[in-house]
């Protein structure tokens, strides 16, 4: 059977003259620039018995760094990290990095998150971002998506936990670990911004 070796139909198309609305090239959500001050937040900790809130600036008064990870308990790009993150949180926690997960997905209930992550042995705060307010302030788009901040809430790194371009999971280049190791060694991080393929943050509006 002869198959079209070119592609399944190349096409050239022309748009109609009608102009209904414009789309802005600035539609990409804004996120803090590397080196700028990341927004502070106070959010309830779903894994604390009393739900006691966690405040970023207070965390940074006790530890030099905070790795803030937008999280989901349903996204296939996040789930494989559930077995990795507690170990990273413990390892780097001893060196001054507080791991913090934030769940902004409106369709994942508090109980669902608690049940899933308690079972996964999460040993760091998992915060509820009701109404995706903090996700909007950070411009967080995906799960997983990491913002690493240092003294004065300075944004040091924004991007992936690891390079999952070859498949969902915790494999690939361990980007965040590489960044943390460099910073803790007093060196420049190998990268400061990376793509972060994952699931869209399920915001209250749209999606």
């Amino acid at each position: 059977m002869l198959r079209n070796a070119l592609l399944v139909g190349a096409a050239l198309a022309i748009a109609p003259a009608a102009l209904a609305q414009t789309a802005s090239p600035e539609a990409t959500p804004e996120w803090p620039a590397i080196g700028s001050t990341a927004p502070d937040f106070t959010l309830p900790n779903l894994l604390a018995e009393d739900g006691a809130p966690v405040t970023l600036s207070e965390v940074l008064a006790e530890k030099p760094y905070a790795a803030i990870i937008w999280h989901s308990v349903t996204c296939p790009f996040v789930l494989p990290y559930d077995s990795v993150l507690p170990g990273m949180a413990e390892q780097y926690g001893e060196q001054g990095v507080q791991f913090i997960a934030i769940n902004s997905n409106h369709d994942e209930t508090d109980e669902q998150v608690r049940e899933h992550l308690t079972g996964a042995g999460f040993n760091f705060p998992v915060l509820r971002d009701e109404g995706n307010v903090i996700a909007d302030e950070y411009g967080a788009q995906n799960t997983p998506e990491v913002f690493l901040v240092g003294a004065g809430r300075t944004l040091l790194y924004h991007g992936q936990i690891s390079d999952n371009s070859s498949g969902p999971g915790a494999g690939g280049e361990p980007t965040l670990a590489n960044v943390l190791s460099a910073i803790l060694a007093g060196e420049q991080p190998p990268v400061t911004e990376t793509p972060h393929r994952g699931c869209t943050v399920h915001r209250v509006r749209g999606n």
């Binding site: 002869l2 399944v8 050239l12 198309a13 209904a20 789309a23 998506e145 793509p195």
Partner: protein, 168 residues
């Protein structure tokens, strides 16, 4: 008409035969440099580039609208192309069946390199939210970025806006 444009017109003309064959759509792997060359070759045209994957629910929802846009628009001065970020293990089970069903009247490529290398060629500001559609104007500049769209009309409007002289 430039040679490349002519080649694409011929390819479009031959796509009907491919559809009649009901053959598995041919997916060409595209590198970042390859994409840059594709875009450069289309300078002077509006280009609608859709990044999608079958693992992305909203991408699967919007793809029929992209196909409809491709069918509605007449073949001149605008190029539609789609690039899948699917994984190799999903090609036979997910991607090819989906494309057989959709029969897109435009070329569909497969992202060849990892995101860190490939994404900047698509859009330096894109960080990985799917779907992501970029509309390049005739100068090869990004005129619009769209998240999930819900009708061909949204694309038509964005393309029409991209045709406007800068500043209007």
């Amino acid at each position: 008409m430039r040679p490349l444009a002519l080649a694409l017109v011929l390819a479009a003309a031959s796509s009907g035969a491919a559809a009649q064959d009901a053959a598995s759509p041919e997916l060409t792997r595209l590198s970042a440099d390859g994409l840059r060359a594709e875009l450069e070759a289309r300078r002077g045209q509006i280009v609608v580039l859709n990044m999608w994957a079958t693992w992305c629910g909203p991408c699967v929802e919007e793809f029929p609208h992209l196909v409809a846009f491709g069918h509605e628009a007449t073949p001149e001065a605008v190029t539609v192309m789609a690039i899948s970020s699917d994984y190799d293990q999903d090609l036979e089970s997910q991607v090819h069946p989906f494309l057989r069903e959709q029969q897109p009247p435009f070329p569909v490529f497969l992202q060849q390199e990892n995101d860190t290398v490939f994404y900047p060629a698509v859009d330096p500001e894109w960080r990985g939210s799917y779907p992501h559609t970029v509309i390049y104007n005739a100068q090869g500049e990004i005129a619009a970025r769209l998240g999930q769209f819900h009708s061909p009309a949204e694309l038509h409007a964005a393309v029409a806006a991209a045709r406007l002289p800068e500043g209007r």
